[in-house]
């Protein structure tokens, strides 16, 4: 509480200048000018999003409905396509990726954060280099390996690839968060007889929900938004997920924009819900936020 007046201290110099009506009116005008500029840019940036949503709810040209809003596109794609199965497959893969990636990355992040020495430094470098490599390099050999093991055209195989491609970033993100938890807390617990694993799980993990959530959001969005791996690995109808399903549907029904956009809106919903609920824990590109924080 005693900090508050100190924090406010730098303010007075600005307030010392008597605000004449002229300057405040100019400040007011430039505020709304900036608002207008931002509004135009935001609308332009959102044009593809708005397009998608508007087309999904707009009746087809030959439709009997005359209203501006309709759910018939959704009814049609739910009836005529496997969109629900694509959705279920995508959700299953994305959620499994999140769980496995977080469970494996949390202890590794702890080692990265608390460990010292050359080995840990090498581990850190390995993670960093692996995350920057093109997926295509690992997709080709994994495709060959997985086809021998029956993991191609299989949701488990897809999940394994996503876990592999998220793990280095989630580890880095966790390590960056664990760094912010004072080591003295743990040292006190060790003196009281708690093991290293005990202090990791009871002290560090328990205080790291924001870090864990950031890593989970990152892994979810990566698994949800990926196209290349799904395109290479998924072929038969039973395992198609939303990205490949939407793209196939688009190629076969290029004129049915209402239907295509209805599927697109279904695909857009989960990341938007996650983002709306957890945007405080959203860090750009994962590693970017981790780098900025470390």
């Amino acid at each position: 509480m005693s900090l508050a007046p100190q924090a406010a201290a730098p303010a007075p110099p600005a307030a010392l200048q008597p605000p004449t009506t002229g300057t405040s009116a100019r400040a007011f005008r430039s505020q709304w000018l900036r608002f207008a500029v931002l509004l135009v840019i935001t609308l332009l940036a959102m044009a593809p999003v708005l397009t998608t949503v508007l087309l999904a709810f707009r009746p087809a040209a030959d439709s009997s409905e005359s209203s501006l809003f309709t759910l018939e596109n959704f009814e049609r794609v739910l009836r005529d396509t496997d969109v629900l199965r694509w959705l279920a497959n995508s959700l299953l893969v994305a959620c499994s990726t999140v769980v496995v990636s977080v469970v494996v990355a949390a202890p590794a992040g702890y080692v990265l954060s608390r460990g010292r020495g050359k080995v840990v430094g090498g581990f850190s470098l390995l993670l960093f280099v692996l995350q920057s490599l093109p997926v295509i390099t690992s997709v080709i050999p994994l495709f060959i390996l997985f086809s021998r093991m029956g993991l191609v055209d299989n949701l488990l195989g897809l999940t394994i690839v996503y876990v592999g491609s998220t793990i280095s970033v989630t580890t880095w993100m966790m390590a960056a968060y664990f760094d912010s938890i004072p080591a003295s807390l743990e040292e006190a617990a060790w003196v009281d007889g708690l093991s290293v694993f005990g202090s990791f799980s009871r002290i560090v993990l328990r205080n790291s929900y924001p870090g864990i959530l950031s890593a989970a959001v990152f892994a979810f969005l990566l698994a949800w938004n990926d196209y290349l791996v799904a395109l290479v690995f998924l072929h038969s109808d039973a395992v198609l997920n939303l990205p490949v399903g939407l793209q196939n549907f688009f190629q076969q029904n290029a004129t049915d924009w209402g239907g295509v956009m209805a599927v697109a809106v279904i695909m857009l919903l989960p990341p938007c819900i996650v983002f709306a609920a957890l945007h405080r824990y959203f860090s750009v590109g994962g590693i970017g936020g981790a780098l900025a924080g470390r």
Binding site: V111, F128, I144, G285
Partner: protein
């Protein structure tokens, strides 16, 4: 001072626990990330297909693939795509970050809405862009016609297709740059600006001599990361143009994909992918050491 004794009095079981904690991720990384790299290296020197490894051919895949015009064009387009992606999105992202630092009504809402291009699944946004520009009767070509530009074929004309793909990449990436710039700008203390103002620096001078140098490290990191993202970007290009027209937008990663999964030439495809990987691994290791040094300094 107080922590020194406790750290030296580390429990003997600590090292073993640390190894156990790191083990699952090390095993996974070896299996899913390192093994494929080794296998790719083997594939790169064989003339196999997706089914068998084939015969050892030395560096033939590289010497026959890398000098072709196909590869040169792809490398050139990748560089264009990278430069446009990095600097286009940086300029817009930094501009927006600066704008959002000033008092604006509804700044919080803008900040969230402006992230949508980055959060939106690429398959969805590519579909929306297709609707906006792909055919003669799409909205943007219709507007261009109404303005007297004639028939503008955004994805069918080679030059325009390159520009369109780059614009879409900038649209996708500016939120990343905006967030990176925002956090960098927030780390510069107000007193520095105040001092510059007292010394008589105008807004442009403050931007040029205070903002840019003070955020240089973060800017550098964001450039290198965005360059890596651009080189690794497959769906933006593939979903908009498929690499066409006449290979105009065929980047290295699209070329590698087409060689392996459409022409079934695993060797040349892996050779291309491996060349990219090699360059990116060096860039990324350099970046890593630069960050380490910057942290120490």
């Amino acid at each position: 001072m107080t922590t020194a004794p406790t750290t030296t009095r580390m429990r003997p079981s600590r090292k073993r626990t640390m190894l156990l904690l790191a083990a699952p991720s090390v095993v996974l990384l070896l299996l899913i990330c390192t093994y494929p790299l080794v296998y790719a290296a083997i594939q790169a020197v064989h003339n196999g297909s997706l089914i068998n490894t084939g015969q050892y051919v030395g560096l033939q895949n590289f010497t026959l693939t890398l000098p072709t015009p196909e590869f040169r064009n792809a490398a050139l387009f990748t560089v264009v795509f990278l430069l446009a992606g990095v600097f286009g999105s940086w300029a817009i992202g930094l501009g927006l970050a600066l704008l959002l630092r000033m008092p604006v009504p509804g700044a919080k809402v803008f900040r969230v809405l402006l992230l949508l291009p980055w959060v939106m699944p690429i398959v969805v946004s590519a579909t929306a862009w297709n609707w906006l520009v792909a055919t003669r009767d799409s909205p943007l070509p219709t507007i261009a016609r109404a303005l007297g530009f004639g028939d503008v074929l955004f994805l069918a004309d080679p030059t325009l297709a390159v520009i369109t793909v780059c614009v879409v990449k900038v649209w996708l990436s500016f939120p990343f740059m905006m967030l990176m710039s925002s956090s960098a700008l927030a780390s510069v203390e107000d007193s520095v600006y105040e001092a510059a103002r007292l010394d008589g620096a105008g807004p442009w001078q403050r931007f040029w001599f205070v903002t840019l140098p003070m955020t240089a490290k973060s800017t550098y990191i964001s450039w290198v990361l965005m360059a890596i993202f651009c080189v690794n970007d497959f769906p933006t290009i593939y979903l908009l143009t498929g690499g066409g027209p006449v290979d105009a937008t065929s980047s290295l990663i699209v070329l590698a994909y087409r060689k392996v999964f459409q022409d079934f030439q695993t060797g040349p495809g892996v050779a291309i992918a491996f060349t990219m990987t090699f360059v990116l691994a060096i860039v990324s290791a350099l970046l890593f050491s630069r960050i380490r040094k910057a942290d120490v300094a």
